[in-house]
Subunit: 230 residues, 2 copies
DNA sequence: CGGCGGCTTGATCGGTCTCAAGTACGGTGG
DNA sequence: CCACCGTACTTGAGACCGATCAAGCCGCCG
């Protein structure tokens, strides 16, 4: 059960403490009509959990900084990462009252929280908000389907298209891209981390990426990468 | 572009001709409050297309008999089957105005049609209908995620869990189950048809299933199958 | 009867997993 | 400041599973 108290406790695992609580948690729309989160803003430490599988689904989260992973643990104990979230992404939006996935921070991260009930209530009165929620659901389904396609490609193609996707989605663009550990990439693409490592090395030798300091990957040549991703 | 005329044309490819058109296409709710399709009922021949990727999304379909597959063709020309539909399933429910998948009949099939615009319109006024649509979307997402898990299992486990799933979803239960060709199963599980064939043969030798006449599979022992699906 | 589509079976090849060391880095405590 | 440790990553050798290529089989329909 994820209560607000639990969120606080998680946030507190961050060395620098959690951020302040502002006005009561309300959704409004900004001047562009986008769903806006005026309320609670919470910080999460590296590897801290936003929520877990089986928790009741209370909040929606809008990531404002850092990266997060959502995953399920399978019967055999392996971890399947279902999605990565980058700043600007909305998550926690599941369709039952119970979360079917867990979400954790990969790096230190911050997110706005809003009560799911609040926004569903608004959506039932505001057709535009409802439309946006549907569009969000559509993107979620689309991403899942793209992920299915990725999973059945070769290791080289899967890693290349993963890098391209992240380069596209992460704000800092090409610059310095990936503070995502090899094990997370492996669990997302259903490869072993050794395979991911070998594949990265080979892609780096092709000149498409650079592996500067460990845990930072720079995209050097997008077109070579696209070619590998075929 | 899928017009009603196009639907008729497709239906006509069925040797026995298409079924009659009844009252104007309207959604109502039956006495259980379920979304009910009072209107158009159309027949599709084997391999006939319900709609194609890129068609504009006009109708929702409720399958009343037969089986259908939804799929995408990848850049490299391979076909990825995303879902199988059995009688009672609702499909065509995509989240943009353009279909991102194609759907075809595997066997002769019939479906009720309803205009997407009509039902979305009703949903905006009827909270219960809206709730049902969300629940449908939730199940779609859940199925996609389960599919992702299936894809990263061994051939034996993937085929076994596929058989279990179909045995569960198809009305006729265990009895005679699968008029789905090997190639379709292969494209769903991302295996080659030879691998599917070999795997079926081996599972049959374990006694979990029987391969009577070609193209009919009977589930004989659910628990052995579950064990293989681990 | 002939031909074709769907399925089975066999032999070989190759990519990814597995097991096993070894390396680089950051943090902590002496 | 350095010695130590743990975590993340790299690299190598070999095994294994599924892909690929190639026949052949079976049932159905013309």
């Amino acid at each position: 059960m994820l209560s607000l108290a639990a969120v606080n406790a998680t946030a507190l695992t961050r060395p620098t403490g959690h951020s302040s609580y502002r006005a009561p948690c309300n959704a409004v729309t900004d001047r562009n009509g986008q769903v806006e989160f005026g309320g609670t803003h919470v910080a999460f430490a590296r590897n801290a959990q936003f929520y877990g599988e089986g928790d009741s689904s209370i909040y929606l989260y809008k990531l404002t900084s850092g990266l997060a992973r959502s995953y399920r643990i399978r019967p055999d104990g392996r971890r399947q990462i279902v999605a990565f979230y980058v700043p600007g992404d909305l998550f926690g939006f599941e369709f039952s009252d119970i979360h079917t996935l867990s979400v954790e921070a990969i790096t230190e991260a911050r997110a706005h929280l809003i009560k799911r009930a609040t926004i569903m209530n608004i959506a039932s009165r505001d057709e535009e908000i409802a439309r946006q929620l549907w569009s969000y659901a559509g993107r979620e389904i689309r991403r899942n389907q793209d992920h299915i396609l990725q999973l059945s490609e070769s290791a080289r193609a899967a890693v290349a298209s993963f890098l391209l996707e992240m380069g596209r989605r992460i704000p800092g663009a090409d610059a310095v891209v990936l503070p995502i550990p090899r094990q997370d990439i492996a669990d997302y693409l259903d490869l072993r981390l050794e395979t991911v490592s070998r594949t990265m090395t080979r892609i780096a030798k092709s000149g498409a990426i650079a592996l500067n300091d460990k845990r930072k990957i720079t995209i050097r040549n997008r077109s070579i990468l696209s070619q590998l991703a075929s």
